[in-house]
Symmetry: C2
Subunit: 319 residues, 2 copies
């Protein structure tokens, strides 16, 4: 971390940051892979002052906590402020468009967006890796675990590999252009429940199959080999257990593959399901398929047809 | 498979093929990764005739079987001949320089070399993937398992990923130039014993750490990032169990890392140990370290300082 002069702090300015939704796990990459989406995105407006403290307000209807220690953005900022010598405070307004509990990295968007905004207002003194670390304190509030598989792509954009959490080792993986279709069935799956139903031990032969797929997926991204990406999007460990919590999962997956999706699966711990496609038309067709499945099950659903987002959290404006 | 004319068979010609040693697993890639070495290499001399049958002789002192069904090269050729309509036979002489039981893919070199040689003599009618499949029949004779993590790099060269065995899916991974130091302590570790001591179940948290490393290693190769390769060469599942069978393993690994090795570990199921280095001088220094460790333990050892082999099994001459 640099120690720039105090004058680099942008007192009296107001920044608006767009914080993208993210898909963690990417089927076979449980706890290590994540991908940023163009849509949906949260917005965070923030200003910095010499009045210590973090004051949070919400411009949405989700009734999230405003106490900084209980709020994911607040917890991330509290962690960041431990690295700030000057006596400063932040005022922020969060507009959530990524529904909490959707499995699309809603908490990560708030934590990541808050530290990206704060870093700009503080004269850009922290590295992206520092920001990931601060934002992980927000994830701890949200799910009890300091995971980075939503945070890293939200801050850095594109597809990220978390090779290791302790020590933190993040690798950005370039990938070919891809369309992403997401359905968020309006049911609740708690991250903590989704974790609890996982077995603590797995068969070695399943683990070997999984790491073959992970290796294939990483090679597919870097070699821009769509077929290999498709063949590697297989999860023999987590999905068979977690998909039980998501009605319609098998139908969505089967029909999407038949319609030409490269593949896909549960987004994070669900209930959202994502599918990757090479062509925009395929992604559109899949959105209709997804809607039909949930309509026929009598479950409301929200659909997004979007693309991979290579920028990550970005400054919409700074006034 | 093509069905070319019978006239494409090179009756009366004699081919000599060099069949390289290979390192399977590459630390964290158990059962999915393999790498070809420049040295050591076996030699196979072969001719084809219209006299059916496979006649094997050995020009080395290893007293390996000559019955085709019991010999790894013979078993591979028997499998290949099921795809040949013409009535042909092969005469071959095998000179093994890769010691059986070294963990350096000795059986794979014979199986792979035999089918590469035969394919040339038959007018190149089979694909590399066909050849891998035939040669796997040889591995079945050697170890009871049709694995491809030595066969694939031996035939294709470089570093190969076996994403899946059924169906067979082989991906070639480009990698930056690397030096390889190998020590073969003259002790016996049976592949079957090395497999039996592995637990059938592994902790999910260990599997996650392993697939983070595999993803990192694949990304490191493809992005030509030596540091990332080094950080990813960690095995929390297989090595802690198997290294117990190899005296001196921990010392060799620790001292090699200290001398600047990127990393390394058990070659295949052992007892050979390999270390990757970026510089030739480092690889040389490590060879001295390895020799010293085994000299001090009173165990004979054979050392190779070599490089990654991007060609795989190659034709030395065709007369």
């Amino acid at each position: 971390m640099n120690q720039p002069e105090q004058s680099s702090i942008l007192y009296g300015r107001k920044i608006t940051v767009e914080c993208p939704a993210t898909v963690a796990n990417l089927v076979c990459g449980f706890d290590i892979l994540g991908m940023a989406l163009k849509d949906p995105q949260d917005l965070i407006e923030m200003s910095v002052s010499d009045q210590p403290g973090i004051r949070i307000s919400h411009a949405d209807g989700y009734d999230l906590p405003t106490d900084p220690a209980q709020n994911v953005a607040g917890a991330a900022l509290l962690d960041l402020m431990q690295g700030v010598e000057e006596s400063v405070g932040f005022d922020l307004t969060i507009t959530k468009l990524i529904k909490p509990g959707s499995g699309l990295g809603s908490s990560a968007a708030s934590s990541a967006g808050a530290v990206v905004a704060a870093n700009q207002l503080l004269g850009n003194r922290f590295s992206q890796k520092d920001l990931v670390r601060f934002a992980m304190a927000g994830e701890k509030v949200a799910s009890g675990v300091k995971h980075a598989d939503n945070i890293a792509p939200c801050i850095m954009g594109g597809i990220t590999l978390i090779r290791s959490i302790f020590p933190l080792d993040i690798i950005q993986l370039s990938a070919p252009p891809m369309y992403v279709t997401v359905v968020h069935p309006q049911i609740e799956v708690r991250t903590s429940d989704a974790r609890q139903i996982l077995r603590k031990e797995v068969l070695l032969k399943d683990a070997i199959r999984q790491w073959g797929n992970i290796a294939g997926l990483v090679a597919g991204f870097l070699q821009k080999d769509y077929d290999l990406i498709g063949r590697s999007l297989e999860d023999v460990i987590i999905e068979p257990v977690r998909s039980i919590l998501i009605p319609g999962f098998d139908e969505v997956k089967k029909a999407s593959r038949e319609a030409g999706a490269l593949g896909g699966g549960i987004s994070g711990s669900g209930p959202s399901i994502f599918m990757l496609s090479r062509e925009a038309a395929t992604a559109q067709n899949i959105s209709v398929i997804m809607k039909d499945v949930y309509d026929s099950l009598g479950i409301d659903s929200k659909i997004y047809v979007t693309t991979l987002n290579n920028e990550g959290a970005t400054i919409r404006n700074l006034t």
